[in-house]
Symmetry: D3
Subunit: 169 residues, 6 copies
Amino acid sequence: MKALILLADGFEDLQLFAPWYRLREENVRITIATPWGQEATGSHGYVVEADSPIAEINPNEYDLLVIPGGQAPARLRLREDAVGIARTFLEDGRRVAAIDHGVQLLISAGGLDSRKVTCHPSIRDDVRFAGANYRDEAVVVDGSLLTGRGNEDLPQFCRSLVAGLAVRA
Amino acid sequence: MKALILLADGFEDLQLFAPWYRLREENVRITIATPWGQEATGSHGYVVEADSPIAEINPNEYDLLVIPGGQAPARLRLREDAVGIARTFLEDGRRVAAIDHGVQLLISAGGLDSRKVTCHPSIRDDVRFAGANYRDEAVVVDGSLLTGRGNEDLPQFCRSLVAGLAVRA
Amino acid sequence: MKALILLADGFEDLQLFAPWYRLREENVRITIATPWGQEATGSHGYVVEADSPIAEINPNEYDLLVIPGGQAPARLRLREDAVGIARTFLEDGRRVAAIDHGVQLLISAGGLDSRKVTCHPSIRDDVRFAGANYRDEAVVVDGSLLTGRGNEDLPQFCRSLVAGLAVRA
Amino acid sequence: MKALILLADGFEDLQLFAPWYRLREENVRITIATPWGQEATGSHGYVVEADSPIAEINPNEYDLLVIPGGQAPARLRLREDAVGIARTFLEDGRRVAAIDHGVQLLISAGGLDSRKVTCHPSIRDDVRFAGANYRDEAVVVDGSLLTGRGNEDLPQFCRSLVAGLAVRA
Amino acid sequence: MKALILLADGFEDLQLFAPWYRLREENVRITIATPWGQEATGSHGYVVEADSPIAEINPNEYDLLVIPGGQAPARLRLREDAVGIARTFLEDGRRVAAIDHGVQLLISAGGLDSRKVTCHPSIRDDVRFAGANYRDEAVVVDGSLLTGRGNEDLPQFCRSLVAGLAVRA
Amino acid sequence: MKALILLADGFEDLQLFAPWYRLREENVRITIATPWGQEATGSHGYVVEADSPIAEINPNEYDLLVIPGGQAPARLRLREDAVGIARTFLEDGRRVAAIDHGVQLLISAGGLDSRKVTCHPSIRDDVRFAGANYRDEAVVVDGSLLTGRGNEDLPQFCRSLVAGLAVRA
């Protein structure tokens, strides 16, 4: 099992660490990719090393895509390489887990039409215009797509994330 | 001539001060409204007193609505009163000037369909899904709707803002 | 299953959130206690509400004591009520999980003699003088006592924490 | 029409941006000069690129000198090149616009004797000892010398600044 | 022996603590006065309790006036009570010790004419216009007036401060 | 008379400057050593240049060792070279002055057995386990060992520090 995390400066720290550490606890191998392979700084100041530039990522090598929220997705959605990776995962029906503003990258990837989705409330209107069925819930599972609302929902988000691993095994 | 500025914490400071001071230079009377009438703090630390809570604003008393960007619009678009004011201005064809993320409030107000619009690049996909005709330009004027891209475009944004005043006189 | 977390200002944020959210994922009921029942602010700025002042805690109602690190334990070890709670857990042989500087509270509680322990390297000499058998390892389990070294070891710390829950069930 | 802005770290951000953007709105060509041509950081964190080191500036190429306030003028008045430029403008009777602590540079240039001047209140005694006729007013125009008191007076300062452009044309 | 320290927000921390602690070492009794008797915060974040509002100070009860620098003197020189205290000390020929921007308060008090003085270089021109004989030296002693240049000169400033105590004994 | 100050990032600023400037006032020659000879930043932001890397220090060339507190000693006690220097001073009976958390380095050096010591209250239990006789006093002098409790005690700490110089002369 291999997971890919897309990251950039301004990520919401807990939304990286909670799923990252949870997946490591399950022995999932994880690659963190940032725009130029440089380290990324969270909105609360945690600094994380990257394993790879996004441009060098082959999405077919990964079973799971994780997109933390905060201000990082606003940076990532401006990059064709990051948007393309999210699109590939969505189109192939492979597992995607996005939380909070992480859903912004999925909007840009154009794959939310008719999908049930939750996200940070401040982007709920954007999600609706993108054709998604917005739910104000802690987490929403729609097939291979897992979305979460915010920090307070991380325990449920992680539980669903790990439950999904079992399904794939 | 009376103008209304909708503000909340996290506004991009220059996007408030440049049009605010520019309109004062033209002797436009300005009301700053915040969610509870409390002071608002910009992302660079400037603190601004409010004249009124948003809920007590009657949009019909104003000729012009100004919406600075930054993180304030993400807060404002969660409030029915703020969204309703923007919707009233758009539907009545009265003048609206939004810059950067200020356009997020217009998306939530649901009045961007077929309008020519610019905004911060990170929300261009949201603007497109909302039906708008996105342009990557410094400022875009579409009838009574003026939109601007970002800080660097404030001189042009202010010039268009003031030119519009003359049209209305 | 009920767990108690002792907290004060300056806690290392991830060392609170990772075990807290992990235990919530397992449906453990958790009480966060601070010196006066006030909210606590982590060294990275996260603010957490408390459920109770420490002085009103009855340690016999809890199965597990969790002590995050950072600068909070230096504050807690100055308080007789916090030290007394840790001592009660250690003397009764009930489960204790401390990480990083959290071990400082256990030193003050006087129950580390001949116990195998890991901790933040900067207090390893204090742990040795307190009679403990210091190990430079990610996590150390010595009977009902679980200790962890630092942030990077949180995945293993959480795995041991949850494994211990199963033992008690 | 060409304007020169003298800048250094610690400038009061709005006192740079309001006149700078206002002049750009009027299509004035502007050169920003800093001690070594390096970028300058305002007291609220805005970072501005410089067009030139101060030492390479020929004051005779400019019609207008603008001196924002904050802590930058305290740095500039220690440099002979910056003081010399201000002195040249004052002695030649060319236009000078200074606001807040920007007036400190004019004190050091030695050209305030018998001039009517306003400034930040905390340096009013220095202005008086320098021979100036201090006024506690929003803006003061004395021939080719325009001075302003502080941020709140920027709309009037900019109005006078632009009115002066017309006079010169 | 009694000393008075005039303080306000923005004081340069070391310029308070070095002479304050040094005088305490010599068993001098010290009163710290701030504008409203409130605590004051230094530019590096140290917070100091005040003993008295400035308005309630009777300068005749003190043998020595100490004025730290930083941004506090710019606030103090705007207050008649603070300026009046400095003037009383200077006119009575009682001991005054000012360092860095602390000399700004002496300018406003109008008693520097023909006095030998050092100060922060950025206000040297103000000191000259005030009639003083400026010296670019670590410390300058002119009768009962001791002035210092900056942080690096604090050891010499404190030595002169204490030597002055002996003279008065 | 030569003194050595051991420093690292996170030192409590006043605990460096008060004794450092006080010793300079007495014309003591001082060497500041940091882990790699790099500059060190205090917890309040003061930046200090180093004279030497710790590894190049020969402790026999110094009459006095000064160890400021804050978070620097937690870094220093992890380094064999720093611990070794402290051990040499203690074993040789040469003068050592430590304040606040500076005493942590002495614990690691293993020379506190049966010594009378004060320190920051949060490490008093560590001091006791190390065999020292802990006193909750401003300063404690035990032969050639001077210890201080915290910032508020710096005047007494410096008085004892200087008194000790006289003894050695």
